[in-house]
Symmetry: D2
Subunit: 420 residues, 4 copies
């Protein structure tokens, strides 16, 4: 049985192929970075690219090679201390806010570490073992783990580069497609007893389980995310100056942090600019707004006479009736053929990240993956331009603290449906 998800695991051969492709994608992402770029850590919440390279490797080593391959030899025993993130059952670990001070091992040693572990993984997958299914399930988990870190690597880097007064681009600027204003309409959804959560085949994290019943009242959901044009209207209407729009903790945060726009925005000669992975860019009015906190999203919704959806509403809508869209935005890492219900920005829901009824984390350190974060955080649904496509599914739950903004976070409006 997979420690994380019930569905039928990948066969060993498929697992090896997914593994190879995910690992290669991580290396592609860091290709434009210098050894110095690899070191950047701009806050405790973010990590250096080099650390992401190493930590995703440690995950395979710690949870597969060490416990299951008696012949496996580490490159350096001390890496377990350096590259464990938060798994207390996997032993002590380096201080999270000091990751940017680990200049040694250097990038090439970390790449050696990656390749050493990859060789070990391929060996064990090729070995035709009795526990091949378990191993394949763990490899799949490790690949999804690495995909999560691919997105973090990109958003952490963007945050760090924003502290460089030269505002360097991760990628060269390219001309962006012209976009058009899209009107906002709401789609009505019936209420009733519904099932949400993961239940079928394919990969899912523990926290997407178990599939369970929940009662939903009739509601309406917008057919596109909130755009930068919408957000500027909020700003121009004094949205950041009016405490009655805000939750109390949100108002305190916005005052203390002196927020007057989304993260990375500034105004120059009456034009709004934003710092992006392609360097400074004028804000694309019809792209989804991104880098807004829960507090801001909630205030915006109140200003708009609407509210954020619950995660159950979002999942029900996403499962039954995918909505078309056509967004392009300046930070895009990959072309988005359509906006869909997800894929442009993560969308804040009004649901705190809590266990589903009957949730039980797996035993051992893997059980720390999601369960211990189930407090003080809000669920986001969908996925962003930095999210690997293989991660997008209607049941996926990601989460952030309500004050965080450095991820690719946006919103979609909902309303109570008061017909009839």
């Amino acid at each position: 049985m997979s420690p994380i998800s019930a569905p039928a695991p990948l066969a060993a051969k498929e697992a090896a192929s997914v593994f190879q492709s995910v690992r290669a994608q991580t290396e592609t992402l860091v290709a434009p970075l210098s050894e110095a770029d690899m070191m950047l850590q701009s806050m405790e919440d973010a990590s250096p690219a080099k650390w992401h390279l190493a930590h995703t490797t440690w995950f395979f080593e710690e949870f597969i090679l060490k416990p299951r391959d008696p012949d496996y030899r580490t490159i350096d025993d001390r890496f377990a201390f350096l590259f464990n993130s938060y798994y207390v059952q996997a032993g002590p670990r380096h201080a999270r806010d000091k990751r940017g001070l680990v200049s040694r091992p250097g990038t090439s040693e970390v790449m050696d570490y990656r390749h050493h572990v990859e060789a070990g993984l391929h060996s064990i997958l090729d070995a035709n073992r009795d526990d091949a299914n378990d191993i394949a399930a763990l490899v799949e988990l490790g690949c999804h783990h690495e995909m999560q870190h691919q997105e973090l690597l990109i958003t952490d880097l963007l945050h760090a580069l924003s502290y460089n007064p030269l505002l360097p681009a991760y990628r060269d600027p390219q001309p962006m497609p012209v976009t058009q204003e899209i009107s906002l309409t709401f789609t009505s959804h019936d209420g009733g007893l519904r099932e949400i959560g993961h239940g079928g085949t394919g990969f899912a994290y523990d926290c997407e389980n178990p599939r369970h019943q929940t009662y939903i009242a009739p509601f309406q959901l917008a057919d596109r995310p909130v755009t930068n044009r919408d957000w500027i209207a909020f700003m121009e209407d004094g949205g950041y100056l009016n405490p009655t729009l805000w939750l109390m903790d949100g108002w305190a945060t916005t005052q203390r942090e002196e927020w007057t726009s989304p993260l990375y925005w500034w105004s120059e000669d009456d034009v709004w600019w934003s710092f992006t992975l392609r360097g400074p860019q004028p804000v694309n009015l019809d792209a989804p707004v991104v880098h807004v906190s829960y507090y801001e999203a909630d205030a915006f919704a109140r200003w708009a006479g609407a509210r954020l959806p619950t995660e159950a509403e979002w999942e029900v809508a996403a499962s039954l009736k995918p909505i078309e869209g056509n967004f392009l935005e300046s930070t895009a890492l990959r072309p988005l053929p359509n906006g869909g219900l997800w894929g442009d920005v993560w969308e804040w829901t009004q649901s705190p990240f809590t266990p589903y009824p009957g949730f039980t984390p797996p035993d051992g350190a893997i059980g720390e993956y999601n369960g211990k974060f189930m407090i003080n955080q809000m669920v986001l649904r969908g996925g962003s331009c930095a999210t690997p496509l293989a991660q997008m599914r209607p049941t996926y739950r990601t989460f952030s603290y309500p004050h965080q903004r450095w991820q690719m976070l946006g919103l979609r409006l909902a309303k109570d449906d008061t017909r009839g």
Copy 2:
């Protein structure tokens, strides 16, 4: 229509009588305090007793007398600034963490303020006005507001006195009844679609509305709160030392704050003592544990192989099947004829404080009463020895941040019911 609750309001005469009795009870509570005691503010979350006396008075003045009685004259216009708590729509207000520095007006001037407003209230209630029902509803709200502050007054005072090295008692110590260990049993509850929330007659806050359907899986609920004896077993088993029992934010908090027991506890010659309203007392082993944070309650439940109930589970159980108990504890302000499902300690639930489906706060400043707190806080149910009886009802939702401990906070265990 009442701005807060739909149920039929009190008649004016009843309102006057409730008002008189609640106001008198507040004065009874401060009777043992000196002018110096009245000034104590030991943290931003807590307020001086004198401020509670004045703020509860301001509430009636601001929301009833000023808008509805053109002949009403204030004693001092500046009191509106000094004694508004957090209602931004009621104008600017004094810094919350500086309330302990307001030596003037003194206690006697604040008592004059109370009596001045009380006279105004009685006038308007006696005036046989067209809006008598609205006024009575607001008076009822103000009385419940004052009852909430009665509990805060007591818990804030206990917190402040705990900083005095002489550990003075609010009330003289009295002999406490001998108690007996009570075994712990769980009662099973069926799952299904249920209604929760306030819907009948009688007073309720806005956040208890609307009554709505929710789906509950079968569950079990303990028939008594966790006791000090239980808690000591957790401590002795290393509960405060084992990170795998804790939520990540909880572990960080317990390490930073160096928690090794509930608030106000210390050990002396192998006996656990606690600072109470009656001064230092040996911990009563069979009283409900009190002054524990959500983080601690959650860790305890995990250690015990159980979990905290959701607020829906709690309310369903409390509505249908009141459970008997027989607790007495050293901090008791009033004798508790039985422990009931509530009344000894507030009980943490695993439910974040979020709006019920369809929740709409009333217009104006009164709408700030509960709605703007709906983030980062967890719901507690029941009531404590410091809670006025008139406030206890199955639908009542109070809330605290998960790190807070100075209120009378405890817990009751729940479990999934996995019977066929």
Copy 3:
């Protein structure tokens, strides 16, 4: 031998008389205060008036009665813990920043404590003992200690009252004499080898000893302190906006604290106001500026093309050639017949508070009186309107951290004398 100063000690009878008069003066100072006023503590650097009443009493009890009178009985043994300030050799003590939370003992109990210790003191002074001279010297030290606390009591209270939005007055406002602008002139002083420090008869603190030689270059000293009129010119010339005028730590402080004027000042309709012991008052243009930090004083002097004097320059000038003046100011506690070289405001010098050559603190806890503060602080000379006259002498050294402003701190300009 006196533990503090070499000069001939008071006779026992004189000591009793000084004692009685100093103790009475403290009670006079607190006469206008309510029990609530007595509790105020607005920052860690400041203490409640009630604490000053008790601590000055503890000093006599701890250093005279307890070690020398075997028959002396304390009122409450725990007061030693509550009212010790910083004497580690006198045992453990209460947290300095929590003094405002000690509502009990109340004021009347503290007054009982005062009178109990006073009775003990008179007994021991009347007893015709062999160690009468030593006791008289300690009483004299305790009286000077209490006079220092009289000034602190007043300035701490002013600071606390400034946090009350009602801006209450310690004393009733009274009409202030009209003053006139006084021109600023400098007096030249020869250089050479000089003696400074206390050496004669009469009381002095340990840190004023030993009298010693020091070499001084020729210098000029202003014959009046800097006035509010001077200070406003500095402000209007952008003094608070120009980093080149400031020490680096000073500029960082002024930016962080957002200083744009002396403490307690604000501008209303183009008039500068200040909060004083007589409540809000328009700034008296020709009174000495007060409540400025070392950083501000130093920046002002640089702006004025001058510098602050060293403490040796100040003492040499004060000893040989008292300068006349005629200041009156709005915070005055006592009429000042002339401004003199001291008596209006404490005057910042450019001298860090360091030991004089050959300085040796007395043995025991009394040795902690001044010595352990000899780091990070700057010397002030003179005295303020809140300083008892009996404390003013040319050798007196007081000290503050360069960022502090709540004492009665001002400045007088000096210059190098480059003649011939």
Copy 4:
């Protein structure tokens, strides 16, 4: 006239030669570092090696090339913002605590910047200009400035590497000479009127001027610094546990920071180890103690029944009577033929860093070099194993805040001389 020091400036040819040699030495120091090592910034007080490379270059560009060579072209105008340290008159500058986030420009671009400015410097020095003497004086200043940063580069790096759990060595460990315990003796010095400060030919900073008279009482000075053996005796005698040995601010710091030994020390199997530029090394008992704060040095001296010397005492002794010694220590960057009075560790004096009588800083941004630091810091004299020999002279004054430890800071004892 040189903007910094009066003495005859170098001829242009000499200046070019010194310049070349100092610049080359900086490159030698960074030779062992990777691009990642170059980025490390472990606290606001410290800077990345790459920043030191660039800032020392900016100094020559800003103060010589830009104002004096109209043909000079910058490589990148934005470097002036990135690499100015604290000269407000030279324009705005990057946040000091964010220097470690500047991954671009990379090391090779910074080396290009260095070589570009070096070419410009050689051009202007070769040009046979009327202002050749002024330029040579500025070049000399810039070289001394760069030598100061050479020491900082090393100490900042050591600090950053200490945060790497792998404790990497800057240089390969080498066997250290065996040393022998050296007894401690004191040499007596007469008192009297003396001259200190720089007055002759050769380079000096502004703050070493003017040479001036000062009166010194007879004193004794130890003929060697305090050693690690001495320090361990202090530790074993409870030196870090006894508040009566400490200044009040020192005790507060040592408690807050939990200091129980010098920086970088730890104990393993009853042996004291230290992290050094050669990685972890057992503490060399007879080397001078290093990485101790003023607070610790002062407490040690009090424990030893001695005191720290004043800077005047130190300079008088160093000028008249160099003392032999023979120290070797594990962090040594260069062999020390003898310990001398300086050269092993910087030695704390009891003198705050204040202006000498008649001190006037030069006009313009260069005037910010030392003057604005003349508050809150203590003078150290001598020089350390990381100090270039060309910087060592009896009049040199360096300074640190009393809590700082990451420089190569030690101490030498002094005493009052109470003979006859």
